[in-house]
Subunit: 266 residues, 2 copies
């Protein structure tokens, strides 16, 4: 039986396209082939530090041709989600600089910490600049009724020198202090995936969701009913495959992006 | 029936003896009377910022006579607990300066963040100097097998200008990142209460545990089987009393320390 040739693919970046600043095996050739076949590409990342322009720089520096319009970061997704809910809003940000940049671009007012009382939204995620004043301002804004948004729930992520705190670790104190759960916008939430589909102008049946994490990428793909492909170049290893719960089994498993393209776009 | 005259009392500080830097109503007279009756006093606090000497200064500044030997802080309790488990140890501290001070006094080695690999213990609690580097070092030390200690579980505590993050909010990211629960040393844990009894040289039947919090002070008293007294000068209000679960009902409820002494030591 012929395998479907998806008209678009939504890809993760870290662990899928690159690892530690180097392209994964065959990624450059694979992405070039997809482009030559006019498959629509959208890179979707939960990294709240980056803008699309930052992503372009990263990929170009490792030899992958791309354009800012091919990226959707969690920062942009959050800024758009807030806009779609409430128009221009007042936001208190306890997350990386990418979130702040997109909130400004979309016309939201980024509050100083001492303006917490005005916050419509508190956005929390990975934040290298976390401190006590942010914990206090965020707590008070949430208690006053601001909407609680989280970038993504990952507790830990692999770093160059060992494990690093993930966005979930920054969200945890606010959950503890308020007893509330955030609305997660990044993967595995369908919020960012719906924005991604809209950006591509394709339906969920027409796209393949590709990534290296079951709990993030594959789960996000399943949330919108798309087919999913797991690549083994990142966090998930061959020996992890038997442990994947049935409801999160990906449609395909490939060694890397090159094998994916070889099999699905021969 | 005559009420027992406890030979010792273990008191909380904030919300019980003082609020916002002022003595609670009648506290000075109440404490003076207890001393004149030779009742043994021990102030026990979960505040990881303070040393006993800091506490003496605070109480003296509001007119309460006291001596450093009458205080047990969570910092001292943690340092003693570690010593009793493993002798002089290597500790990574993500908590207030009181903890560090006592760890040094008891001969533990207080590690720099970049020495996380050597940690026998990671101690977490309220920390005004929390930052990303501490989250990362603590995470890695715990993953390498260090024992996880928490000062106390309170998520929030009332501050002068509004609610502030409690120790629980600082513990939360490490629970999230490691999936582990800390050993809590401060109230309501019986670890600090057992150290308190030993310090007083009294049995649990001979002491009364006094405080303003059900989930901390009363629970701590119950953990060692002592009688407990709730005073309404702090966080618990008269209208909260019906909501107290049966297993946490205090032995007595008093408006303040003055009423307590009037009724129990007439």
């Amino acid at each position: 039986m012929a395998r479907p040739r998806y008209r678009g693919v939504i890809l993760d970046l870290d662990g899928c396209v690159y690892v530690d600043g180097s392209p994964t095996e065959g990624a450059i050739e694979a992405l070039r082939r997809l482009k030559s076949l006019k498959v629509k590409l959208l890179y979707v990342t939960n990294n709240p530090e980056l803008t699309s322009e930052d992503c372009v720089q990263r990929l170009k520096s490792i030899g992958i041709d791309c354009d800012a319009s091919e990226f959707l970061t969690v920062g942009e997704a959050i800024a758009r989600y807030i806009y779609s809910r409430s128009g221009p809003s007042k936001v208190l940000i306890i997350a990386g600089p990418g979130v702040e940049e997109y909130c400004r671009r979309l016309g939201h007012r980024v509050l100083d910490l001492n303006e917490w009382e005005e916050a419509d939204y508190v956005i929390v995620g990975f934040d290298r600049e976390i401190n006590y004043e942010k914990l206090t301002a965020g707590l008070r804004a949430l208690l006053k009724g601001a909407v609680f948004l989280g970038t993504n729930p990952d507790a830990v992520h692999p770093g160059k020198n060992g494990p690093e705190p993930g966005s979930g670790a920054f969200i945890a104190p606010f959950k503890c202090m308020t007893g509330r759960d955030p609305i997660i916008v990044g993967k595995p939430s369908r919020i960012i995936m719906d924005i991604a589909l809209e950006r591509l102008g394709l339906s969920s049946r027409e796209v393949l969701i590709i990534g290296d994490r079951i709990d993030t990428d594959v789960k996000a793909g399943k949330s919108i009913g798309s087919d999913t492909a797991l690549v083994l170049t990142g966090i998930t290893r061959e020996e992890d495959l038997p442990k994947i719960p049935p409801e999160l089994k990906p449609t395909y498993v490939f060694k890397n992006l090159y094998e994916l393209v070889e099999k699905l776009y021969p």
